[in-house]
Amino acid sequence: MAEQLSGDPAIYLRDGFYAADGSMREGIDGEHSLALAYRLRSEGLSLDGLDSLLQAVGDIVDAHAGNDVETGEEPISAGGMKAFDQLGTRPEVTRSAALTSVLSAAHPWVRTWRDYAALAIHLERARSQLALLAVWPQFTKQERS
């Protein structure tokens, strides 16, 4: 549990996005997204910054997942993979250790559109949690104790 809540993508993504039964691993769109949102807030990433990344994530789907992609089990084309790799060079990613670690931990596991969808959902969920955190006051250590 402590491992799960560490918020380190290298740990919670060490076995990929999906469990053996094919379902998305617990926490990918739950506590791990929340932990990511906390990290992003502490890094000072704005909602606009994350929105910009999510827009790029979505654009890759529009540009590279054609009408042939039906179930998501189809492999991502070379062009799609190249575009995915380039996400890591975006300014909001290079400025954020949290986003960099998520993308690098996810990279070995993203082969099909279904894998890509899991990553996208993870980030999108973190975005909605970051939006919620934005309206909560940020307590200092002293206040927390």
């Binding site: 789907v61 992609v69 998501g72 279904r114 969808a117 999108e124």
Partner: protein
């Protein structure tokens, strides 16, 4: 009373008596209410129901109330030279005007093709057909020959238990409905869709689902005439069917579970059918987000990852929230209009002097999407219709008012005056028709699955007739039509949500966001340019369809 005193030349008067199926009381209704709603004299209703001694006594939900027969006069045409005769029946109106041509238009469109059917099946088919015809006729409408032929085709394709179930369904749920025509057409359209579905999803639009959707169109939303419209419109039922056919297996499993658990574990008065109707209405309002072919990239990504769409998650949360709630409460919170005509102001009101356009946008969206309607009720902590519309709470502490303000800002309107500042010389800026069209397309279109455009009324009576005929068509298919009224230089947006043929002619149900009143206005008043709203007299200038 529209009973005719004499018959047109060339016809002979013949007195007739028409029997009616008993009515089912809605919980809390009294005999007096039934008399008012059915438009029959209380003394006649009491005579037909001697077992109910006190006309003010509250009836049980579903309690049978016998309806007195209506007497009328048939003007039977004398045979013409060609040997054909025509009959025009004019009976005392029951709920609606019944000036209906009988004869050819209530008869089968073609000879029955019974094949090897048993005599019992033949009889069932014909009686089911007659029940539908009678129901449609009672609602003041008629099925055209093409629809009658379609109905015959459906009935001819059924036999035995399935046919008996269909016949029973028509008798119970379509024949007595003021929306019998729309319900019958919905049923026929859905049966056609069912036949065309690919085998992989054919089971999704089964007879049970078709009946649920047809009932959603047939079942009225309240006992008063303003509540005569179905919970869903005809087009919404078809949109729901499309969504069901094209949603992902994951979403379909979720929806199936929601429909099965409707009405369970709740209070007395819970009504599974009403819950199912509202759940399916919510699905229809999200058709394009649920449909795997039309869904946007994020809903598609969720599907690829084996998740329910966010749209279906919204429907699931809604279903859980309404589960087991009494029918009356469900219906009240699924609209922002005043549908019970109880002389209390209950429709949503504009909180700013010039926010009628924004308020009508909220109303139109709420009429299409029960989730948004419920949300408005929850957000209007001070009530959809606050005690005092000019109070500080009703305007400055209200999320409903805030949303109206946001919509006005979105349309570029910067200057707003709150209610209570009527004496000011400047009332703020109203939306022009372009702004209003944009608002409808950004807030309502995604729930009604259509694109709005403004249609200005052409000058003259012919132009008005043409506009009203078009609006009629939209309303009869279950849509709502925002319209622009004018009185001198002053413009005002209101919502039209129903049309009925009444004994006083055709009437439109108009909801005025200024005073929150929902009232019937005669077509003649529209044609004369004397639409009585907000205490003034307005003319129809255009509609958003």
């Amino acid at each position: 009373m529209t009973q005719i005193r004499s018959c047109p030349p060339g016809t002979a008067a013949q007195v007739t008596q028409q029997q009616h199926e008993p009515a089912k009381a809605i919980r809390g209704q009294t005999l007096k209410d039934v008399a008012r709603v059915r438009n029959v004299a209380l003394r006649d209703l009491q005579a037909a129901n001697p077992q109910i001694r006190n006309p003010n006594q509250k009836l049980r939900a579903g309690q049978t109330v016998n309806l007195p027969p209506t007497r009328g006069v048939i003007c039977k045409a004398t045979p013409t030279a060609s040997g054909q005769s025509d009959t025009i029946e004019r009976v005392r109106p029951n709920l609606f005007a019944q000036v209906t041509r009988t004869g050819a238009d209530t008869q089968p469109a073609r000879a029955w093709q019974h094949g090897n059917a048993t005599p019992a099946d033949r009889q069932l088919r014909e009686s089911a057909f007659n029940d539908v015809m009678q129901g449609v006729r009672n609602s003041g409408a008629q099925l055209d020959a093409a629809d009658r032929a379609r109905l015959q085709g459906v009935l001819e394709g059924q036999s035995g238990e399935q046919l008996a179930k269909t016949a029973q369904f028509f008798k119970q749920h379509v024949a007595g409905s003021p929306n019998a025509l729309q319900a019958a057409r919905t049923f026929l359209d859905l049966k056609e869709k069912q036949a065309k579905l690919p085998a992989s999803v054919a089971g999704r639009l089964n007879d049970e689902t078709i009946q649920t959707l047809t009932r959603a169109v047939a079942d009225r939303r309240g006992p008063a005439l303003a509540g005569a419209k179905g919970i869903m419109g005809q087009q919404q039922a078809l949109d729901a069917a499309d969504a069901i056919a094209k949603m992902s297996p994951k979403d379909h499993t979720a929806l199936d579970g929601l429909l099965r658990s409707a009405g369970t574990g709740g209070a007395r008065g819970a009504d599974p059918q009403t819950e199912r109707a509202l759940i399916l209405k919510a699905v229809a309002a999200r058709r394009d987000r649920i449909d795997t072919e039309k869904a946007g990239r994020w809903e598609t990504l969720r599907r690829w990852a084996g998740r329910n769409t966010n749209a279906m998650n919204e429907v699931s949360a809604y279903a859980a929230e309404i589960r087991g709630k009494p029918r009356e409460e469900l219906l009240k919170k699924s609209t922002t209009l005043d549908l019970n005509e109880d002389a209390k102001d209950e429709a949503l009101q504009q909180r700013w002097l010039s926010s009628c356009g924004a308020t009508v946008t909220q109303m139109a969206r709420a009429e299409a999407d029960p989730i948004y309607a419920l949300d408005l009720h929850k957000r209007a902590a001070e009530g959809i219709h606050p005690e005092k519309i000019t109070s500080y709470e009703a305007v400055h502490k209200s999320q409903v008012a805030d949303e109206q303000k946001k919509m006005m800002r979105e349309a570029g309107v910067r200057s707003l005056r709150s209610r209570g500042q009527e004496s000011e010389s400047y009332w703020g800026t109203n939306l022009d028709t372009d702004d209003k069209t944009k608002l409808l397309n950004s807030h309502v279109a995604k729930h009604t699955n259509k694109t709005y455009s403004y249609k200005q009324v052409e000058a003259g009576r012919q132009g008005l007739e043409a506009a009203l005929n078009r609006i009629d068509g939209n309303l009869r298919r279950g849509g709502d039509v925002p319209v622009l009224l004018k009185s001198g230089d002053e413009g005002h947006y209101v919502l039209l949500s129903d049309v009925r043929n009444t004994r006083d002619g055709v009437k439109y149900l108009v909801t005025d966001p200024w005073d929150g009143k929902t009232t019937w206005v005669k077509r003649e008043d529209f044609l004369r340019g004397q639409i009585p709203v907000t205490g003034g007299s307005y003319a129809l200038r255009g509609s958003f369809e």
